[in-house]
Every structure is written in C-alpha cells, then in structure tokens.
C-alpha cells in the first residue's frame, strides 16, 4: 500500500534546539490522520517538512506515494491549509481563486466555484471581511480545487467556534468520502478526534510517541483494576503506560491485545481514544509504535 507520509530518521534543528528528532514514520494512504501533541511538541515542524516549507536537518520525508517532499511532483499531489487559514485579507474570494488557478498545474475551477456557492460565500467579498468559519471554508475550497491526493492541515479547528468546527469537519469528511483524499491534520483538541480520525500520531518533545490505527490502538490497550498488592506482578506481565495506585486499589493502563488478559480477581475496562492519547502525552517515556515492540520494561513507564 502506498504511503501518505513516509519519513526516515527525520530531524529538524532550529539553532541549538531540535524541534523534531529521529522521526521514522509510515502513514498509509486512505486514512484521516490526527497529529496530536502538546504545544511545541513538533507538530507544525513535521507538517512543514512534509509540505516542503522546511528542509530537514537530517533524514528524509516522502509524501503521496514516495514523492520527495517539496519536489514539483509532490507539490502537485499535496495541498496544505496553514494555521488560521492564512489567506491574503485584502484580496477578494474570486481573486484568491484566480491566484490558485495560476499557481497550480492541476485546478478544478468549477468545483471551487460550486463549493463556494453552496456555502453562500459571495465571490466579491474581501477575505478580510469573512467570518472565521467562512475563511476556513475558502481555504479548504482552495486546497480541494487542486484535487490533491494528500491534504495536510495545521490546526484547522483552533480558531473556529463550535458550529464552524462542525461545518468544517463536515466539509472535510465529505471530501474524504467523495474524493478519497488522504488527510493529515494537527490538533490539540483531542476530544474531537474520535469521530473523525481512523489513524493517530502522537508527537511529544520532538519525537514520535505513538503511531497507529485508532481501532488497533484502542483494542490493544486496557485498564486493569485490582488490588494494589498484586499490581507489581501484573505490571511485569504487560507494558504499562500509566500506573495509578492507592494503598488498596490499582488502575494499570496496559498494552495488551488479549481480551482475556486480566488476571483472576482483576477487572478489565476498555479505553477511549481521548484517554489513551492523554495517558501517553502525560507519560513521555511510554511509546507505542508499529514494528518491533520494545522489550518489556524498556521504553515503558513503570
């Protein structure tokens, strides 16, 4: 299967600070990918490298089926919506469309016009006079008019009110359904990912901490609840992501795909994506990556 984004040993240093380090990823095409992590984790850096707006310090990144990021072939296949839907505020919506047409080799003008008409966004209006929700819809329209294979969005929801968020996500998911475009977007609103994403990448401190299909990640983690005096024995059997104990009771968030994993007397609970992602973000030393699993005790918070 072709990859939407593929990186190996990717790193980016600004001055003395590594914004991203040792990043090796292979995100398959055909997913809606949520890139999450705290502020300053390296999300924007990773996206900028994938789009070709920044050049790597180490390693390499390929997009949309192996095209080197930033190459002409990649620019044809990848569309990018920057933070706060950065557009020229003094241009009219129609001018933005004209500009998009002259700057891109592939351009579906009819579709762009049709989308804007459907959204009741007047083409003569200056971008600066639009509401935040409308501006984000114009940015999405411009990006989709390229008919990209991969659409990358940096914090598309951050500046939007709840109604505009819903409308934006609705438009984005409709594009996924109609065009089959792969989507990668960053967000720190973890709660909103669950409905939308089927793949999640967690970045923390410039490193990739978790990467995988949501369904597999959720099925592969459980919270085990039982008596504290047995907790050490249980913790030795599974990689533990989060360990909460009182003198009597212990809640261990473990990585285990076997649903019958709970030892006698322990209860097993399923875990939602939001809780899972937050648990990893709070435990920077824990990680879940595809490929060879770390040996028990290694790279795992106990």
């Amino acid at each position: 299967m072709s990859a939407a984004i593929e990186t190996s040993g990717l790193g980016k240093r600004y001055g003395r600070t590594w914004a991203l380090r040792d990043c090796s990823l292979a995100i398959p095409a055909g997913h809606v990918v949520g890139l999450v992590g705290p502020n300053g984790a390296g999300k924007t850096t990773l996206l900028s490298l994938a789009v070709g707006l920044a050049t790597p310090t180490t390693g390499q990144v390929r997009v949309a089926g192996g095209r080197p990021a930033g190459s002409a072939a990649a620019l044809d296949a990848v569309a990018f919506v920057a933070q706060e839907a950065a557009l020229y505020r003094n241009l009219s919506v129609a001018d933005m469309l004209r500009m998009g047409r002259s700057l891109n080799r592939r351009w579906d003008a009819e579709r762009a016009r049709g989308r804007l008409a459907e959204l009741d966004i007047p083409p003569g209006r200056k971008v600066g006079a639009l509401s935040g929700g409308q501006r984000s819809q114009v940015a999405l329209t411009l990006a989709l008019a390229k008919r990209p294979e991969l659409l990358i969005l940096d914090e598309p929801l951050a500046a939007l009110d709840p109604v505009a968020r819903h409308d934006f996500m609705s438009a984005l998911m409709t594009a996924v359904s109609e065009d089959g475009v792969s989507v990668v977007f960053s967000s720190h609103v973890v709660a909103e990912l669950e409905r939308v994403c089927d793949y999640v990448v967690v970045v923390h401190g410039g490193r990739i901490q978790v990467s995988g299909e949501v369904e597999e990640l959720v099925a592969g983690h459980h919270v085990l609840t039982g008596p504290s005096d047995q907790a050490d024995a249980v913790a030795q059997r599974f990689p533990v992501v989060r360990d909460r104990r009182t003198f009597a009771q212990a809640h261990l968030l473990v990585r285990a795909s076997d649903p019958d994993a709970a030892p006698p007397g322990w209860q097993r609970h399923a875990i939602g994506l939001e809780e899972l992602v937050l648990a990893y973000i709070r435990e920077p030393s824990a990680s879940a990556l595809p490929g060879p699993k770390p040996a028990p005790g290694e790279q795992v918070a106990c």
Binding site: M173, T174, V176, S177, R195, D198, P259, D260, A262
Partner: protein, 155 residues
C-alpha cells in the same frame, strides 16, 4: 446543516451521543436495530446515504461504511451497488405478553436485589454489566472472570 436539503431517501436519521462511550459505528448499528424494533424502518426501506451521514454528523466515512458492513453481516441490510443500503431482514419484535412476563421476572429479581441491600443505582450498574457480558459472549468473547465475580454480589 440541513441534511434534508436534497431529500434524504431514508425514514430515519442518525444522532450521536458523544458521552455514551459507545464507539461511533456501534451507535449507528444500534440505532438501526432500534428503528427496526420500533417499526421506523421496514423491509425495503433505505438507510441514510453515506454522504448524508458524513455531512450531517461530520464523521469519517469509513465509520459509516463499517456500521453498514456490520449490519450486513448481521443479515439486516444489503447494499445495492450505486443505489444505497436497504433493509433486508427484520428483528423479531417481542410480543406484549412475553414482554409482560419478562418484566415480572425482572421485578422478582429486583426485589431480591433490594433485599440484598442494593439501591437503584446499584441495580442499574449490575444490569449494565450483565448486558455488557451478554454482548461479549455473543461476540464470542466470554468474560467469565468478571461475570462470576459480579454474580456473587447478587446471590
């Protein structure tokens, strides 16, 4: 967003409860089953079109497809290429008499539970846990340990 703008062909419309903790695809499956039980959906009716669900709820299209595949797997619906997904099977609707009998036996259980010292919330929790167990055993994943532990509370 007005989903009915271009005339949804389906008698039902989905809604999501983000606080339920039930996975999105399963919420869709359960709502179809419920609509079949309550008679909102009948043989030959069309399910909401995938694109309408995606636009209306702002969810991943794969989630809707997964729900419809699951319903197909359960023999309740069938996809017709290029047309949509249609109701094929029916869920047995339990007769009123049988329902009354079931309620009676449930009441007996609740009295026992109450005598054992369980309050409303406790009973409700037990019921939810038992239901969960039943579902798991239907899916072929018996959760015996949890089951015997909880049953012990009632006895």
């Amino acid at each position: 967003m007005d989903v009915d703008k271009d005339g949804s062909p389906s008698p039902i419309e989905f809604r999501l409860d983000p606080a339920s903790g039930v996975p999105t695809y399963l919420q869709l499956v359960q709502q179809v089953e419920q609509a079949l039980r309550l008679g909102y959906l009948r043989q030959g009716d069309q399910l909401p079109r995938v694109k309408d669900v995606v636009a209306g709820l702002a969810i991943n299209p794969n989630t809707v497809l997964k729900a419809y595949r699951e319903l197909e797997h359960r023999g309740l619906v069938a996809g017709r290429r290029g047309l949509g997904t249609f109701v094929e099977g029916t869920l047995d609707r339990v007769g009123l008499r049988e329902q009354a009998a079931l309620q009676k036996s449930m009441l007996a259980w609740m009295r026992t539970a109450s005598e054992a010292g369980l309050d409303d919330a406790g009973m409700s929790a037990l019921f939810t846990a038992a239901l969960h167990e039943l579902r798991q055993s239907r899916e072929g994943r018996p959760d015996e340990e949890g089951g015997s532990g909880r049953a012990g509370v009632v006895a």
